[in-house]
Structures are given as C-alpha cells and as structure tokens.
Chain length 357, copies 4
C-alpha cells in the first residue's frame, strides 16, 4: 500500500529503475480537464537527465504514453494512467550491489525487507527514476491548480554552502514564481548560479556529490484549504515530500528557525489589506492548524547528497558478513537538487490539489 | 477523516478543548496485551500541566476512563477507547477570539473552514489539549514496543537559544534513553536545565513565550521495518509529528545539515559489528529508502513558541473587517516544549508500532 | 481497522456488549448542522429492546452522551463522538460460552482470531448492541439527508414465511416511506402484522427464533451520486450492511430475481417524465454502474434467525475438544428483524451520505 | 479513489474499453513468489471472449505485459503492474450511445456524473472488459492461495431458469473445486450444460440476453481469517463482487434462504471431527462475525442479463430530452455468466488474500 497517496485524489506509482516500464495512475481528477501535453512535456524535461555536465549522462526516454483516463484529450472521470518505458539501462552496473550495499542507499534495507527478492538493478523501486511518474501526475496537477488561480513554484535555495535569496514569504507573486521556476538553473539570484555550479563540479571532479535545499511556494490557495490533525497541510505535504528519495528534512515558514524565536516575534500579526485578512509576516508558511490562511504556502525540503559516488567507501559483503570496500561505478548525478526542483513542485501540487478537491 | 491515522493500527482522536470530553480510539492493537495503567498514568503525568511555574496553571483532570477494548485488564481485539473529561475550563477566557483571531493560532483558519460554526473555546479541536488522547494511545504503544525490545525516548534539544547535548546517534542505548526521558526536566546535560528554565521565565515575565526543538530516538527497531515511498518511516513519522500543534519542522538524522555535506561525508559507512550489519555514522537517522537499517531512529521536531501571549498584538475584527489590537488573557504555557516531550514520544511510538504490525 | 467505515464521512464504532460503554465517532459531518436530539431519541427508541413481548426483556439504557463535535447544539467541524453507557448487563449469563461456543454466533471465531483474549460476555464486540452507535451516527445522517430532500425508510419485507407488500419501486414517495417507517410495527400492509407477530411468538414459545428480510428505499438521491467500481453504491451499501450482525444476503432492485430474467425484461426503459429522465421499471434498484440514476434506491437485506436460542444444540468444548450440548439461557430476541429496521435505515443513510459529500 | 481496493493488498484498476490499454497495479504481494505465467494465461483464457457462439465474437487481445513488480520472474516487493493493449475495438458501434443511453447500462449515470466528459465508447470505464485486469490480479492471488493450501473455485449455479447442482457446502473438496472450475462449461452436473446453452442460444436468437447466478467456494482458509464489522469477510467479498459489472445480489451460505428459517435450523451445530472443530451444516457459508470458521466459504452472486441487446428498447435523447427508440448493434455477449466464472474466482481470491496477509 506504500505506493498510494491521497484522499480524494489517489496517486499510485509503480515501477523499478530497470523494469520494462514505470508509471502512475491518478484517480479522482476532475472530469473535462484538457491536458496541455506540450506544457507537460516541458515540465518533465526539467527533471530529465543528460542535459548538462551537472547531471548524469544517462538519457532516460521520458516519453509518456497515456494508457487511459483521457477522452478526446481531456480527463474523462476514469483513472488516468501514464507510463514511461525504461530504455538505456545498464543493469550490469549494479551487479555487485545486491551483496555489497551502497552506503546511504536503500540497497541493504530493501534486501532485508524483501528477504533477498528485491530488484537491485538501478536501485529498483527506490530509484530516483520513480520521480518521473510523480512528475507526470504533478505536472497535470500544476495545470489544474493554475486554472484555479493557484501557482506553485520552487527554486534551489542552497547547494552545499552556497545559498540563494529566499522567496519573499509575504509578497511573492505568481508571476515571480513562474519566472524563477522557468529558468534552466532555477535560482532567484542569477549571480549565485555559477558558485552553485562550481560546487557541484568540484564534487564531481572529486568523485563525490553534494546536497542542497529546495524552497517551494504556492500562492492563491483559498483560505480554509486543509484539515486539522493528520490531514493538516503540513502532514499532507511532508508525507509526500519525504517519499521523494534523499529528502531528510521538511520545514514550513520559519521552520526550525521558530525554535529560537519568541511568540511576539514568530506570531504573524493580522491586518486588513485590500479588504482581505492578511498577515504582515509569514513565519507559519501560510498554514495555521493545518489549514491555509491565505498567505503564500512556504515549504523547504533538505536533500542529502547523492549516495552513489565514485570515491571508495566502507561497506560489507552481506553473504560473507565481512567488511568490504566499495566504489560505485555507473552514471550518477553529482547533485540531484537541480533535477529535484520540478519534483518538489509536483509533490506540492499533488498534495495541495488533493486537499483542495 | 482528518482525525484518523494509521494503516494497521488505526488511531482516531476526538474532542475539543472545552467539550464534555476528549478521547481516542485505537483499533488494531494486538490482543492479550496487559496494560500497565500505573505506568501509563506516569507517562500522562509528564504531559499534564500545572506542575511548575514553567507551565500553565490550568489543572487538567487527565484521568483516563477506558470505555472498551479491555477484558480483564488486557486488550481483547476490539477497538480500545479511552476518554478524559474536560473540567476546570473557563470558556469566558476565549469569548472574544471568535471575532478577533489570535496571531499564530488556528482561530482564523478554523472560522473560515467551518464557516463560523467552529468551537472557538480554548482553541476547540486545535487545542494542545488534544495531545492528551494522543498520549493515551502512545503510552500504550510505548509499552507494547518495550515488550518487543524497542525503546523510544526524547529530550529537549533546544529552548530558544539554549541547546542540550545531542543524542549519540550511533551508540545511544535503551537505558540512556529511559534515564533521560524519565527526568522531570528531560535533558541529557543537566547543567543546561537552569539556562533553559531561565529563558522560559524571562519570556513569561515579558508576557511572551519561547519555542524549541525536541529530539527523539528509537532503538531496537528491527532492520526492514517500514515501507517504500508514501509509507516510508519518514513519511509516517512526519505526518504524525506535523499533526502535533506548533510543530513547524521535522528532520531525520543530520536532516537539514545534509544539505551542506558531500556524499562521502553524509553516507553512513557499513561495517560488521557483533555479527550484525551496522553503520559507523548515522546521518540518515536509521532510515534508508523509508526502511529501518537497524541503527537508532533519530528525529527532531521544531516547535514554534506558544501563540497565546499576553503582549498586545496586531489582529483584526472579522466582523468589522478592520484592524484591532489583541492581548490574550487566560492561562497559557510560556513554553510547551517541556510538556511536548512525551507527546513526541507518543507520536513516534504510534507511527513505529503501526509500521511494525 | 475493521471498525472504521467511509471515505469522506468516517464512522468509527467501538465497544463491547458489557464494557463500560459503547459509542461512535463521526468525522467529516458538514459543520453548522443542528441536530434534532428529540428526533434522534425517537429514532434510537425504535431500535431499543424491551418494549414488547416480541423483543428481549433486557433494558438497554440507550441514552446518548455527546462528548464532542457539537457547539451550541450544532456540528462544529470537529469529529462528533456519542457514547452510551452499558448498564443492566448480566455477564454471568455468558460464563460458559467462552469454552462452549454458540452455534451461529461469533464465539468460536473470535476465540481463535484473538487467541482466547476476546471478551466473551454478551457477544463482546460482535453483539447486536453495537448497532446502537451505528444508529446514533445513522440517525444524524438521516436528518442531514432529509434536509437535502433525501428520505430513507425501511419496512419488514418478510418474517419467516410471512411477506409484506413490497415497496413500489418506481413510485414510492418520501411521504409513504416516512409513514411506513414511523409505524411501531413497520410494514406496508398492516393486515400482515399479526401473522408476522404470530410467527415470532410461535418461535419464542418453542425456545427458537426466526429470520426475515428488510427492504429499504431512498428517494431524492441526485442522479450521478456514487462512483464506479469498488466505490459503487452497491459496494458501499453492501459492505456497510454486511457489517450488521446476522445479515447474510444483500440485493438491489430485482436482485437475485435478475438471474432468471431476459435483458429485454430486466433493462429499465428510459422515458422523459416531468422534464426529467426516468425509468418505467426499476429492476436495477436505482443504481447503474455503481451510480444513482434518479430512481428510488432499493435494497434488501436478509437476516438470519437470532443464533442464541433456548433449545438445546450441539456444540463442543474448546478446552476438552469434545462434543458438548448447549442450551443458551439469558434474554434474547426471538426475532431481531423488527429492531433491525432502523439499523438498516441508519446503515443506508450513512453509506449514501458518505457517497454524497 | 473508486478504482482501488484492499487493505494490505492494494489493487488499482485502470482503463476504458477503447483506451490504449487497461491494467492493474497490485501493491503488497509477498516478495519472492514465482508467478506461473502459463497457468495465468490459461486462467485469463477462461474469461476471454470469442471462443464459442455463446460469447461475443469480439477478439480481445488479452496478452498481459508486466511493466514492473517482477525480478527474475518472481515478485520483488515493488508494486506489480500488468497491462493489456486494447485492439480490435470498433468505437463506431457506440457513437449514438452518448446521447441515447442503453437501458440497464451506465451510459446515462456516467454522463451525468462526469458532466458529459465520460468516455462513452464501449462502455468506457464501466465495460466488462475491465474485469480482465481484475483477473490478472486475481489469477496471481489464486496461485498464492493455492501454495498456502487454499483453493477457490466457482461454477454456474443458474442460467435463466436452469439450475446446476449446488456445491456440497460441508464436504466440497479442493479437488472437486478444481475439476469443476477447470471445465470449459463449468457446471457440477454436466447433463445440465446443454439446457443452459439452449437458454442462451434462444435468447441470442431473439436478440435478447439472459442472466444467471455464480456460486463460488473457498476451502482451506484458516479459522480466524477476517475481521469484525466493516472488514468482515462478507463485507470484503461483497464490496469486491458488487464492483463486478452486472452483479445485483450477493449472499453467503443459505443467504436469503435464512430469512425463512428458524434458529434451530439455521444455526450450524458444532462437532469435533478429525480433532478439529467443524460444523455439520454450513448455512453461514463458513463465516461467523465476519471471520472464517474453517468450513468452506460459500458465496453466490446474481448477474443480471447483459444490458446491450439487439431488440429495440425505449430510451431517450439526452440532448433533446424526448423519448427515443434504441436498438443496440455491435457484438455483445448474450450471457456474460460463463465468462464471469473466473472473474468471480478472481474477486474472491483477492478479497481472501487481502484478509489473509
């Protein structure tokens, strides 16, 4: 049941890195929505690898085939399924990993959970490749939200120790979000891009990888969207974001920064602006009691560095139960954060659309 | 559906701060487990208010009545329901808040979501008081886990700018966890307690409040516990923790710290120790691919300062749609972090038990 | 998780026959609905025992206490919990049944499932008494539906071999439904009541019991209510009705009668009537493809005879694993069908309201 | 969310009759199970059309492609997805039905529910063709159950007014079940086959169709399988079976026959046989309180006649809102009951496996 998300919008993701195909079924989309497939393709291209020296040289054939759910190009009420064929896989790269697990990856835990029956090739079901179907569903969700006046956009907030200008958490506009998210290197401050790229290339050259932080905002979400307790927006968004490989932290608004604040500083004061209730700061990231308060939704997700690195590491042989050195060959991203930007947007869009329906 | 959590263990929480009662139903507990009610009472007492000048002077009558689910003192397979009567409530304290919402609280979002039909007294369904039934369920879960060799314990990692010594993420033992969690002021480094208390009292004196961070660990969880994707341990734990009022951030292992690491530093190297696969660091907080790897589970939750403060704040009148000043009277914790320690333990225990069953 | 039903309206039922109390939590009710508690009381009274020689002489104190979910008498968005205290129980009546299970009851299966830890008194969690909380939730659902122009009503269609006039499946009106359901002996044809009562009394006199059929209709449900596949109205209604103790069959419209029909006879022809699409017969019971077609919803549930009878029966001793005779003493209904009429209405109302929200 | 079933085993079905493909995702299968694809192919062939004059002459290309979920031919823990391409469709046959709905079919209700955006071709998402993916999942479930000593088999109990010998509800063996289910015309009493075929051909010749009843049994299910209330075996099985197109009634054991019984007759007496607790009759169909009692599970499902018939029927024009005659052309089964036998087995197997895991 692990691969199904949502209450009113159900997202079921399937596939392994090297299986015949991967895909997603979305049940509960409003009927009659015409999908802009060109726009969806551009969105998926943002996640696709192989475009620059910053990403893995693998070429994933991310052409989506919709098996069902559409009639005359529009959603028809029935579940929508989109699949992507896996091609250009080199399973041989992974032959050793079933016995000698990569530190930081799910090789070992999957082997124990499934008693040696897991698919180890390319990380199997745990591969970052599984974010492609998430982006199919999320790309559609983004279009539906946009039609309802809700815009979701993200940027690279941090790579290693290089940080971008944070979003203006009170005044960020839909237009700014789209501008930033539309960049080939999505940062608010373009001057910082080269420093980030340098950090990635330095790691790559060292056979290493780097982590980072993605900040995502959503504007236009109606006040009152969300639910208390376990279906609060924070719970919904976090359970979705932590399902994205490599995410190790999620925070809303001032997040961990709240811990060192006083109430008088952290509370977001109310005011009337343009005949609407607004707040003059946004330390709560647009969410109070799990429910949207009309301010921009602000969430940050921390990504650990790609675990697959060329540098030799300490591992073990599971069959011999003895220590063993491991150097991971194959083609791996020195930094997944860039490609993860649309993934975070997709995840946020799906969680919000589910809460909104 | 917002008040129901879990897959195999279903937890349904109900109540408002000033309704006749609050409570919890737990379905799916293993049959034949004898609950140690004295131990449960001690656990609930850790969350109870009114014990020290650091907490609210309200006296909540947290005596639990089990309506069902037990037979001869042991779980009997049927759902278990525990309720607590609400007494000593002073609804008059909250008369104004339906129109003039407290900054940082759910007053406004609840009013919009439920179109003015919400129960505004004492924060209604959004009150921190609802963590009492969570602790009933969690206290039982802790006992069941303990019988299976799994120990969960938490400490105050930070109050405002004062920080405790972090848990030893590789070597923390069940005994240490119990010792720390059992303290009246649960910190690892007792020398820091007075500085934390001073921070709280300073805020209280100023009519203000402070936030903090709670760190929680679980040891003994079998390798392989958890699931991929949306049912990963991080997703399960985060969706539970973000349902606890005031939590604005959740991270595992090195969490946001991973962002500035390189892979060679963040990856936890494997080794064979005592004939078992272990890691020599624990930046992943015991979780890889959503599944436990046998190392201590480590999670941190950031709590914002209590939003109800005596200092005058900017708010609005919802009926007049104009700005209005607000000073919150009534009895409020200057810092909820101390009382939230057992709440975090309860939340973590419930999420882990659900994953384990 | 067995005790939770619903998608948008979540119903969680708890309790055992002889535990301190039983109850129900309903999450997802629309906020701002004022419950008519007098009407709810009358509805619950229809299910209550002890009124006539046809029912068990037990007096169940079915006074409902609402612990939460209401504010100023109206639903407030938070989950609503209603409980009933168990009084007047005589656990001694059941002392023997843990070892010597009643044929036709859940004594044996519960003992195996929960490994001897089940609560055997009064049937424990499997008692018909658990239909009281279902009626609390259902009674509220009936009121909400009624406000939306949807009326649900049932009658005794059969007791042993005595049958009532079936509902007019095309033309039954809300008024007729209310008239029939409001009777102390709810049958369409009052002349048949005495024959049904005679059948019950004859069985009672013989230390035996009788079964029957309840037919339920709902009018006013908007066309398009329901979903395909597993959330079709038939699936939703059946999974709810089979949760009512003693139900062994459920059919819609012509039901099992469809099996011997031809398509030309079973298909319900369409026509335009009063500017609306209607059908001239209703063999499909108002449901096509799991979705309401605007005709009356018609469902029938078959109830087996009460398993607890005074006549000596063949059973076994589970401890000795040998055959043993059993005569069940205590106070039992010779026929639960009369009291089950409001239970079926409650079940149908809950399933329809969940589908409608 | 309508297309997802199950608790521990999640089945997600997708597709429309004339979309590019249809399929199923199954999440929660035990890892390491080697699927016998030849056996699965034979099972699917039992459902496939076009084999005899009794079935539709359409040739559905029911070759399954497994996109994922397998590694070296065995389940690998990740969700398993199987798809079937839709070929040989003639959408032109259905051009008129979007405006002039077929009586007895979901054309009208789908149009209202989805506001005219539904896929009307071939019945869209409501087509009987969607039972093919159910059979993929169910065929695998049957193999897993068989390995655990649980056999599921069904037969045609009735076609129009011709009835087969019922299963021996106490003594039916796994071997007998397999023998009957393995027949090309699955009836217990072969002498009755020609009469059933004659009934079908007579209807076909008249441009009409006939209904029937399928009886299914499962032997070997461990005592204690199942849950109380809403997750009782009856609720689980019924919600699955009513999701099969054309099912209008479901009963267990004596089912509706219980209504005219007395308790002394309906209760199944216990006895010790072969050192096990057994019953000497099986009016409860192997289920007490929603939980298996070790006797054969017995369920019957009533199928209405295929709604698509050549005979002219009364319908309406939805665009003109006036009465209109309709004669359905195209290729339709005069009786779906024969092909539905494996579908019922698949449905029962999936529900039981989910309860068992």
């Amino acid at each position: 049941m692990a691969s199904i998300y949502g209450n009113k919008l159900k997202i079921s993701i399937f596939g392994q890195s090297h299986s015949a195909g991967i895909g997603v079924t979305v049940d509960g989309l409003p009927a009659g929505f015409s999908i802009d497939t060109a726009q969806l393709g551009q969105f998926l291209a943002r996640r696709a690898p192989g475009k620059s020296p910053l990403a893995t040289p693998r070429r994933e054939g991310d052409e989506v085939e919709f098996l069902c759910g559409l009639y005359n190009g529009a959603t028809c009420g029935a579940p929508l399924t989109g699949i992507i064929r896996n091609t250009n896989t080199r399973s041989g790269d992974y032959a050793n990993l079933a016995d000698c697990p990569r530190p930081g990856h799910a090789d070992y835990t999957a082997a124990v959970k499934w008693n040696g029956h897991q698919d180890p090739t390319g990380g199997g079901h745990f591969s970052g490749r599984l974010t492609a179907p998430l982006c199919i569903a999320g790309g559609i969700a983004l279009q539906i939200l946009e039609k309802q006046g809700i815009t979701v956009g993200a940027h690279i907030a941090q790579i290693e120790n290089v940080t971008d200008t944070p979003f203006d958490d009170v005044n960020i506009s839909a237009k700014e979000l789209k501008t930033i998210a539309g960049k080939s290197f999505p940062v608010a401050n373009d001057n910082i891009a080269s420093a980030m790229e340098a950090a990635i290339l330095a790691a790559k050259k060292a056979g290493d990888s780097v982590g980072g932080i993605i900040e995502c905002a959503a504007v236009g979400l109606p006040v009152g969207t969300g639910d208390p307790m376990f279906d609060g927006l924070e719970s919904r968004l976090a359970s979705m974001l932590f399902a994205v490989p490599a995410v190790k932290g999620v925070e809303f608004g001032a997040g961990f920064g709240c811990a060192s604040m006083r109430g008088s500083q952290c509370n977001d004061p109310y005011c009337i602006r343009d005949d609407a209730v607004r707040t003059t700061s946004n330390n709560n990231g647009g969410i109070l009691g799990g429910i949207a308060n009309g301010m921009p939704i602000l969430v940050r997700a921390a990504f650990k560095p790609t675990p697959s690195i060329a540098i030799e590491q300490d591992s073990v042989s599971l069959s011999k139960m003895e220590n063993q050195k491991l150097a991971v060959h194959g083609r791996h991203d020195p930094c997944i954060v860039i490609r993860a930007v649309p993934v975070v947007e997709a995840a946020v869009a799906l969680a919000l659309l589910d809460a909104l329906l």
